[in-house]
């Protein structure tokens, strides 16, 4: 291949270049701006991301090119995820501005890193070759390591990032080793090359499948799929809330963007061999659903709860990826659709939690007690978000689950779908515990009293004042707690994020058809077979 066709369609990478440049610009501006104006950077980066999304849509719509002899793909799939990631970035930035100003120093680097990680994610969605994938994945990971550690004084944040980076480095080593084995057997590391190798050889050389196993393990860490999930709760809990949100939403989405393309282009074409290997992902999926949702039952810390529940959701997504098929887009659609819906919903929850944290500095479940009286809007947002996550209509959570589980069942894994449905019943229980704190428990005078209210598994314990009663007879209705302190109103940016998120949650739940068309075009790009 010659230099011409290497650089022929270089312009297709304009968005990435722009993004990189823009990130650097933010770093530079950080030096120039005075501290009280640092939050301008946040607005600037948000604006930039919006612009970037528009730019990429304008430039790349309808393109279907493969750059560098098949290293990077510029197609509907990557475009979809680019816009998606930019959107997430915008929301994360908007919801973190106050937080950053209040709790973190070096805001400039924060936003810069965030932009770089988005660049990494975009590349993950584009890459069709293992090394490229790895590099962009590391670009994302490094930014995340730093961002998790961002609360300098806070030992938890520090510990979280330490565990995160150690396990992350380990997993990247594993991934690389797998890569090297694939290379040593095939001599190439492009996805379709792997697919060809799998297709022609009637027996797979041990080195190859061992390599693939190693790769899957490495990626399993990124997905936080059982048994590679243990870092997640700690990293989530340690990280500053916006970063937790970012971890839960963006990095997961990016990892799945990568995994989907990898599976779709390297494995699925292998036909019956892929049918053999499905079961591996299926088992991982089942384990993730069970472990994630069961352990989440025992959590007290909101971030940790979200971490485990996200492990559960990874289980559902893995089930979706396991049923990718040459002849039907159902699985791919399901996964992508689920990613979008899940992100939107968690965005609502996290934004509301951030607002709550900004006001109170608390992130334990019992601290939410009486939120419905103290700050109704946030309470409603969290409640709707959690209902949606547990898969109840009219929210998007129901629609995405229905779509995804239908896909799973349709590929012959009805039992897996059943397990998924059952585990989302379990998830309903712990989500309801949170809602119960917000709506039913009276507001606490001091967080210390949290303990007695926490023991209320299934709410068996009676309300203290009620136990005195003689016969079947209690005060008529739950009276509003007299001593609660109303919370200050969240900032407009947060309200906007939550509001938009809520609208999206309901709108997508009630009428997902338009989104699904885009999703289908995206998945059609990686599964041309159907």
């Amino acid at each position: 291949m010659t230099a011409e066709n290497l650089t022929a369609n270089l312009h297709l990478l304009t968005p990435e270049f722009v993004l990189a440049g823009f990130a650097l610009l933010v770093f530079v501006l950080d030096l120039l701006l005075s501290d009280e104006h640092k939050d301008l950077l946040g607005w600037l980066s948000a604006l930039g991301l919006v612009g970037l999304a528009v730019l990429s849509v304008l430039m790349l719509a309808g393109e279907n090119e493969s750059l560098y002899n098949g290293l990077l793909a510029v197609d509907a799939y990557s475009l979809f995820f680019k816009v998606f990631f930019c959107g997430i970035g915008v929301f994360i930035i908007l919801s973190s501005i106050d937080y950053v100003k209040k709790y973190l120093n070096h805001p400039g680097e924060f936003y810069g890193l965030l932009l770089f990680s988005i660049l990494g994610m975009n590349l993950m969605a584009m890459s069709r070759e293992l090394l490229t994938a790895y590099i962009s994945l590391e670009l994302l990971s490094f930014s995340l390591y730093v961002m998790v550690a961002y609360a300098l004084g806070n030992p938890k944040s520090n510990e979280g990032s330490l565990k995160y980076i150690i396990i992350g480095a380990l997993s990247s080593a594993i991934l690389l080793y797998g890569l090297s084995m694939v290379y040593s057997t095939l001599g190439v590391t492009r996805f379709e090359a792997i697919a060809e190798a799998l297709m022609e050889g009637e027996v797979v050389s041990p080195a190859l499948w061992a390599g693939l196993a190693l790769i899957v393990a490495g990626l399993g860490f990124k997905l936080a799929a059982v048994p590679f999930h243990m870092w997640a709760p700690d990293a989530y809990e340690g990280a500053p809330l916006p970063v937790t949100a970012y971890l839960a939403i963006a990095s997961k989405a990016a990892a799945f963007a990568l995994v989907l393309r990898l599976l779709a282009e390297a494995f699925v074409p292998a036909g019956d061999r892929w049918d053999q290997w499905q079961i591996i992902l299926v088992v991982m999926a089942a384990l993730s659903m069970l472990v994630g949702n069961l352990v989440a039952l025992a959590q007290r810390n909101l971030k940790r709860l979200m971490a485990y529940s996200s492990v559960g959701h990874v289980g559902y997504l893995l089930a979706g990826t396991a049923v990718l098929a040459q002849d039907s887009l159902l699985g791919a659609n399901g996964v992508i659709f689920y990613l979008v819906g899940y992100s939107v919903t968690s965005m609502v929850v996290f934004a509301a939690l951030i607002a709550f944290f900004n006001a109170t500095g608390q992130d334990e479940i019992p601290d939410l007690a009486g939120l419905a009286d103290r700050q109704p809007f946030l309470a409603m947002a969290i409640a709707i978000g959690l209902f949606s996550l547990s898969g109840l209509p009219i929210f998007v959570g129901f629609t995405i689950k229905f779509y995804l589980f239908t896909a799973v069942a349709n590929e012959g894994y009805l039992w897996l779908a059943g397990l998924a449905i059952f585990t989302s019943l379990i998830s309903l229980y712990y989500y309801l515990q949170v809602i119960r704190q917000m709506y039913i428990q009276p507001a606490l005078a001091a967080p210390a009293e949290g303990d007695e209210h926490r023991s209320g598994e299934e709410g068996i314990e009676a309300r203290p004042e009620a136990e005195a009663e003689e016969h079947l007879h209690t005060p008529a209705h739950h009276e509003p707690a007299s001593d609660y302190v109303p919370l200050p109103r969240p900032s407009p940016a947060l309200i906007a994020v939550v509001g938009i998120g809520l609208v999206a949650t309901i709108a997508l739940g009630v009428y997902p058809a338009p989104l699904l068309e885009l999703v289908e075009s995206a998945s059609a790009a990686i599964l041309p077979g159907s």
């Binding site: 565990k163 594993i174 693939l212 590679f228 700690d234 591996i280 352990v295 039952l297 959590q299 598994e457």
Partner: protein, 647 residues
């Protein structure tokens, strides 16, 4: 004749009017009810006349199946269920009609019910006042219930299909519940009402099942079609017997046959006029009426007939003995009712169709009279224990005379109504059943004469009880009504004789298969007359003149008397069953529901899941090398698994 439906409907119409506007109307709207039933009574005569002039070719009339008597049916559809337009005979659809059948039995019952109800309602105008003469505060409800009561009873006797009959049947039960428990502030009426409703309800289960059984065989609820089916031998004997017995279960509940008789004596906790109505014309009459109405069914099964007769006899004899020793005036009357109902059942069981219905009517008038009398005694003296009373005729002569007429009539003193009907029963029993039945029946007859004598002489004659010095006799409304009833109690029996004119005597009017005149069996008539007169003479000597001293005899029969005075402990047995069996069963079930079904069955899995999560969480130790280990193991596991599947 078609206008017969107005008779119940008028009273029904009165109910909401009284409930809604009663408070504002004079006398709390009681006139509405009385007018309604008065109109009903009037219409009854029109219908009666119409029926006498009717013939098989009159529109809607025919010769009834089973009873060869003239029967007229009129009906409109009420509702249908099931596949629209499907054939009812294959049970894919049921069609229920508002329909009435008019035959001699109906006519008789209509007459009795409307008349007694009219009397009772007028009487109540006087009775439902306190001593200062102002009305009971809930008089409007009282009359509303009365109207509903009689309306339901009239529907019952008019119904041409079993379902409608059951509907009215239940409503009658409800009204008796409401009226018995009318003074619900006191616990006894409350309990009595509950008892009445539930006991009869148990019987009704049988009735409903019987009806459904017949439906499942015939495919229709119409009596005519059912009886036709029986005539044509569509039904197997087994079905006939079973369904007859099931219907009889219902009849036993309503007509207080043993062992369902327990509710009736307590029922006199309600206002006395209500007792009169229940005992004479409405509630208890329903059971006998049902058996008479379904006579084609019963007579088709000898077993059923024998059961009916036996139960009737047991009831009659047992109740009579209890009545002999009871000390509460109203209880005496109550048990006498039970006993006489027993006689009617016995007579039905002995194919004494005419006799039973005839006795039902005669007894109705007499018993109503007696209860109203007892009511007026109670109203003036507030006393019911006969041992406290005596010689009341001095202060309340009218009541005394009228009560005595009733007592004599019921006791079977010749030419009074009771004499004729009882005689016909004896004849029927003598004709159809083994000799033991006739013997015991005569004993019962003797007893019933005895306790009537006792009640009458102890209360009104003999030594005057001083504490009633200045009680006054019943007011006009009460005495007039009693007087009217007394007239019937005297002359009604003469219908038994062969009369000139279109109405050739009751035997030619109410009959089964073929009419017949008065049948006289000399020795039976003689013996029963003898017994009755003897009983009354004995009573006069023993209770009025006190020339025979019974106190000595008590010792010898102590044990027997005790058993009888305790009503054979039937109530106690029931009480024990309810408390020890039913309630503890329900407590046990409730406990099972909480402890096992809920706490184990429903909470259990939830708790297990939660505990599981709680244990499982410890796998995230917080030590980074554990995480690494997990990854390593996961990696190895993955590799092995991969190797396995890709082999």
């Amino acid at each position: 004749m078609v206008w017969a439906w107005l008779i119940p409907v008028l009273s029904f119409a009165a109910v909401p009017l009284i409930i809604l506007f009663g408070k504002r109307l004079p006398a709390k709207g009681s006139p509405l009810a009385i007018l309604a039933i008065l109109a009903g009574f009037a219409i009854f005569w029109v219908v009666f006349a119409g029926f006498l002039s009717a013939s098989p070719d009159t529109e809607g009339c025919e010769i009834g199946v089973g009873t060869e008597a003239l029967t007229c049916n009129f009906k409109i559809t009420w509702f249908e269920a099931g596949i629209p337009g499907a054939d009812t005979s294959n049970h894919d659809r049921i069609e229920v009609a508002w329909g009435m059948t008019i035959d001699p039995l109906t006519i008789a019952m209509l007459g009795l019910a409307t008349f007694v109800a009219l009397m009772v309602q007028i009487y109540s105008l006087g009775y439902m006042r306190d001593h200062d003469g102002n009305f009971d505060p809930r008089l409007d409800w009282y009359y509303a219930f009365h109207a509903l009561f009689i309306a339901s009873m009239l529907t019952l006797v008019l119904a041409d299909n079993f379902l409608l009959l059951y509907v009215a049947w239940e409503l009658v039960g409800l009204c008796s519940y409401l009226l018995i428990g009318f003074w619900h502030e006191r616990p006894e009426p409350r309990e009595a009402a509950k008892k009445a409703f539930i006991v009869t309800r148990i019987g009704d289960v049988g009735l409903l099942v019987g009806i459904l059984l017949l439906w499942s065989q015939v495919g229709s609820f119409s009596m005519t079609e059912t009886f036709a089916a029986i005539e044509n031998g569509v039904l197997s004997d087994g079905v006939i017997t079973v369904s007859a017995l099931l219907l009889f279960l219902g009849a036993m509940g309503k007509s207080a046959q043993f062992p369902f008789h327990v509710w009736l004596p307590d029922a006199m906790e309600g206002p006395t006029p209500v007792s009169a109505l229940i005992h004479a014309a409405t509630m208890v009459a329903a059971g006998v009426y049902l058996v008479a109405r379904a006579f084609p069914l019963f007579s088709a099964s000898d077993t059923a007939m024998l059961v009916v007769a036996t139960i009737g006899l047991i009831t009659a004899l047992g109740a009579a003995t209890i009545a002999l020793v009871a000390t509460d005036l109203k209880r005496i009357l109550a048990y006498s009712t039970i006993s006489h109902l027993g006689l009617m059942m016995l007579s039905l069981g002995a194919f004494g169709y005419t006799a039973a219905v005839f006795h039902l009517l005669a007894h109705g008038f007499a018993k109503a009279l007696l209860f109203l009398g007892a009511g007026s005694v109670m109203h003036s003296t507030d006393e019911l224990d006969v041992r406290q009373m005596g010689g009341l005729r001095r202060v309340m002569p009218v009541t005394a005379i009228l009560f005595s007429i009733g007592a004599l009539s019921l006791g079977g003193i010749p030419i009074l109504a009771g004499f004729w009907s009882k005689d016909e029963i004896l004849v029927a029993v003598n004709k159809e059943l083994p000799v033991i039945f006739i013997v015991l029946t005569l004993v019962t007859a003797l007893f019933s004469a005895l306790y009537m004598a006792r009640a009458m002489f102890v209360v009104f004659y003999g030594r005057f009880a001083e504490q009633f010095e200045h009680v006054h006799d019943a007011p006009k409304t009460m005495s007039i009504t009693m007087g009217l009833l007394a007239v019937f109690a005297i002359v009604f029996g003469l219908l038994a004789l062969d009369l000139p004119g279109p109405f050739k005597g009751i035997g030619y009017f109410i009959f089964y298969h073929e009419g017949h005149g008065l049948v006289v069996v000399a020795w039976v008539m003689g013996l029963s007359t003898l017994l009755a007169i003897a009983a009354f003479i004995f009573g006069y000597l023993a209770y009025a003149r006190r020339s025979i001293n019974l106190d000595g005899t008590r010792g010898t029969f102590a044990r027997v008397l005790e058993v009888a005075e305790n009503k054979y402990y039937v109530d106690e047995i029931y009480q024990w069953t309810v408390d020890r069996v039913v309630l503890s069963l329900s407590r046990f079930i409730a406990w099972v529901d909480r402890a096992l079904v809920n706490d184990v069955g429903i909470n259990g899995p939830g708790d297990i899941t939660r505990v599981l999560g709680d244990r499982l969480k410890y796998h995230v130790t917080g030590y980074v090398y554990t995480y690494a280990l997990a990854m390593a193991l996961g990696l190895i596991g993955l590799a092995i698994f991969w190797w396995l599947v890709s082999r």
